[in-house]
């Protein structure tokens, strides 16, 4: 079975290079055309498992924006988001042999992304706490470096203040609520897709989103009531 898939992949990627080049041009327009969906996912997986470099490049170019965007909202730092994105693709490269196709490739990649991004975020918070504690007992009373508030690069200027507060509030949400909210509102995943990525039920996702919105409202209410005052 695997042999047949490898032959099919060979046919697509190597025997017809003009077809492959044509496919590569579509990668530049991921919003209009999803290459990985169009190209049989099983063929791509077989090519990746066979160690095809063009297949890996195709995969990276198809998913890099969505993976980066998701990582950026969770870690809220551009350099760290790029680091997470690279780690995600390295893990995909290393573990593609173990991918058995029980879920869609995109779902698997997003699952790796959320776990990597949360891991980075947790590590950074722990480091920050440790730095604060050592600064209390240390001889040098250095002021801790606080990163500036996160502003998503896609936010328009007139909305920047409001969005800065909203992203700050998202950052304070518990991990699962944050992931569900980010996937639904920023990556525009449906409840079903969020449930698949989080390996949860749709009703559990609905509950997570409801609690996330309640928490955000609590956090941002003070700001909005302040604005309404004459």
């Amino acid at each position: 079975m695997l042999g047949v898939q490898v032959i099919r992949t060979y046919f697509i990627f190597f025997a017809h290079p003009q077809v492959f080049c044509k496919l590569r041009t579509y990668v530049k327009y991921p919003h209009d055309f999803n290459l990985v969906t169009w190209l049989q996912e099983s063929d791509l997986i077989a090519a990746l498992q066979a160690g095809s470099e063009p297949a890996f490049r195709t995969l990276v170019e198809s998913f890099q924006d969505r993976v980066y965007n998701m990582a950026l909202v969770i870690v809220q730092q551009a350099e760290e988001a790029e680091d997470v994105t690279q780690e995600v693709f390295i893990e995909v490269y290393q573990t593609i042999d173990r991918f058995r196709g029980e879920s869609r490739l995109s779902t698997w990649i997003y699952r790796i992304t959320t776990s990597k991004a949360l891991e980075h975020h947790r590590r950074r918070k722990a480091k920050k706490r440790f730095a604060f504690i050592t600064s209390l007992f240390g001889a040098d009373n250095e002021v801790l470096h606080e990163p500036p508030d996160f502003i998503h690069p896609g936010v328009s200027l007139e909305n920047s203040e409001q969005m800065k507060l909203l992203f700050g509030a998202i950052d304070k949400l518990p991990a699962t609520q944050k992931v569900a909210f980010t996937l639904h509102y920023l990556n525009q995943a449906s409840y079903q897709e969020v449930a698949e990525i989080m390996q949860n039920t749709v009703s559990a996702v609905e509950s997570l989103l409801h609690r996330a919105k309640q928490n955000l409202r609590k956090q941002l209410n003070a700001y909005y009531t302040e604005l309404k005052k004459p």
Partner: protein
């Protein structure tokens, strides 16, 4: 403001997130990723695979030591050696210099 209006207001705020232009990594992302992947793969070219797995390396070392010890204990090497004589006793001294025991005390 009634609760449904409030709900609408908040929902419209959250919906604004969907209109945000997606962020993209810096240009030449694949080049940087490729360089990182190569850096990760490089040690494999320098070291054999079994040396990169400490379990295998330690197991091999243990096996080597065990084999050496078992060979040393089981061989006839230890048995074949002549029994060492104690050089610090009178008997040892006599046998070392091949002296006639009687000759030593001939004058007495």
């Amino acid at each position: 403001m009634n609760p449904s209006d409030q709900h609408e207001k908040w929902e419209s705020l959250f919906e604004q997130l969907k209109a945000i232009e997606p962020a993209r990594p810096r240009p030449f992302f694949y080049t940087r990723l490729h360089a990182r992947l190569q850096a990760w793969q490089e040690p494999s070219a320098v070291l054999p695979w079994w040396l990169r797995k400490p379990g295998y390396a330690l197991g091999a070392l243990g096996l080597l030591i065990g084999l050496n010890v078992s060979v040393a204990l089981s061989s006839d090497w230890a048995k074949d050696r002549p029994a060492e004589t104690d050089q610090f006793t009178y008997e040892g001294f006599v046998s070392e210099y091949q002296l006639n025991r009687q000759g030593l005390y001939a004058d007495e």
